[in-house]
Symmetry: C2
Amino acid sequence: MVTINDIANRLGISISTVSKGLNGASDISEDLRQLVLDTAIEMGYQSKRMKNQTTKKLCIFIENMEYTSQNQFGYDLILGFKQAAYRRGWDVTLYPATPAFQKKEKYDTYMLKNHFSGAFIVGFTLSDPWMEQFRHTAVPTVLFDNYIPGNPNICYVGTSSHEGISMAIDHLFQLGHRKIAFLNGFPHSMIAEQRRQAYFNFMASHNLPTSEALATNGYHAKNSASCYIRSFLQEGATAILCASDLIAAEAVIECRSLGQSIPGDISVVGYDDLPVSAQLTPPLTTIRQNRLELGKCAYSALEILIDHVPVSHILLHPQLIVRSSTACPGHNSLP
Amino acid sequence: MVTINDIANRLGISISTVSKGLNGASDISEDLRQLVLDTAIEMGYQSKRMKNQTTKKLCIFIENMEYTSQNQFGYDLILGFKQAAYRRGWDVTLYPATPAFQKKEKYDTYMLKNHFSGAFIVGFTLSDPWMEQFRHTAVPTVLFDNYIPGNPNICYVGTSSHEGISMAIDHLFQLGHRKIAFLNGFPHSMIAEQRRQAYFNFMASHNLPTSEALATNGYHAKNSASCYIRSFLQEGATAILCASDLIAAEAVIECRSLGQSIPGDISVVGYDDLPVSAQLTPPLTTIRQNRLELGKCAYSALEILIDHVPVSHILLHPQLIVRSSTACPGHNSLP
């Protein structure tokens, strides 16, 4: 077991200085404090407070995702994680991790200073500053919808993108659709890339036509629908697969404003099965992600990593929910 | 809850006939018995014996894999599964499932008749008769190293092939190797196909030369080494990545018989980290699969499926174990 003495010997400084560094005292320099923390992490030091603490602490870092109302994707995800963690006696802190915050604090340092045993990372993009640090972190860390190969302390939890996209395309294909457009989400995202690849793979395996004009990266925003729907229709698309229910809702509005009826002229498929998708007009055909169970799986993955088992992926099957926004192909009336 | 009466009504036969079908009585025809069982499964019937049984039963079906001695791949895999299952009060039956047996019995029927709540499937190839049935099975089923998309009752457990192959190629690349041959395992296997793709992907991402002559499908047998090693050397390979430690052991023998020293002339990398790999001369650099933990994860996956959560993948990170069969490239003296 590494002691405070070992850290002092390694750095050639006094025990009291190490102690100040670990406890955040203000009378040592920021550089020295960082060096003490980095060395403590490298040597595998655990503070007495961590070892003896009666409250075991986990952290959720969240970004780019809403979670305060039941209609939002993050709500059940966070709830499932907390439910599972509380049941096992953990205290869970939720923290919005902006890029500015990530730049200011090293991930491992933050976790050690705050006595967290592990974290669940939600909504990060590929360009988030901590993503690079996760490659070498010593802290058990579960990423929602992100994958870091080669680090035994990191696990990816999510829903199989390949299955989700294939279920949607199979459903549309069986209805008779041949020109299927794909309105993807956020571009700097692993999941958007997985889904894009899956779209091209499954279209090819059904011998269906694809082109860059039929598969575009939008954002979770109104303007993606208004940017692309017209050109999808001009390309002759009779169905639009969207990367979220919110994008799909905007796509429906945009199609209507172009004089197209859903599903008479155009079929629309969403993704996620948020509560709102059943209440839209028409109720949305979508790919369900079981968010409560994803949250619980994320907790289980963290528990497994904390037990030193190098779990790499825990994925759930998605589920096709057929409602009324899909039907046999009509004829969209744009040229 | 579906009753024996519901099955009788659905089929338009008497309750006593249904009961005979379910209990394997000999005075009804085999066709009728099968119809009763198929209908019971389709309707989600659970026998009283299943519901009330004090012993909860799981089954392991195993094929193409040795498991009776600690030196064999299956030993720890089965042990880990049994340890985890026994701890939760399950009784585990291990059954060798030959293709002939699979052809004789439908999977779901066998499980229902024998009151198994779920199964762990080990060593099956893509051509095994039950593989097609797994697409639609209603029984919670965990496949080792096999993946069936789209069925919420099926989960794939294994070690990430992409990471394993990338770790091996990175290691050889950093030593200075550029011509790296790949001696793959069993051809009719999902894992062999994953590893083959990973090999071509990672060679390409390092801008290394590949050809069909450098990547061959062998078998877990002596003759694969003797078939291919000479041509690898003639192609100018300075390192050979093998799909198992047993193949690597044969590759070492074959290289020596061709006058090559390991690792002076040729580096050899194994896969699995079986106990024997540390005892070979030279001790083998290899990719470890944590078999005990894989077995425990397989049990956890089955427990999750039995709780009606549609888990799809649980994968572990592999680990690179560097021993003495790899070094900087020498010059193989063939041809």
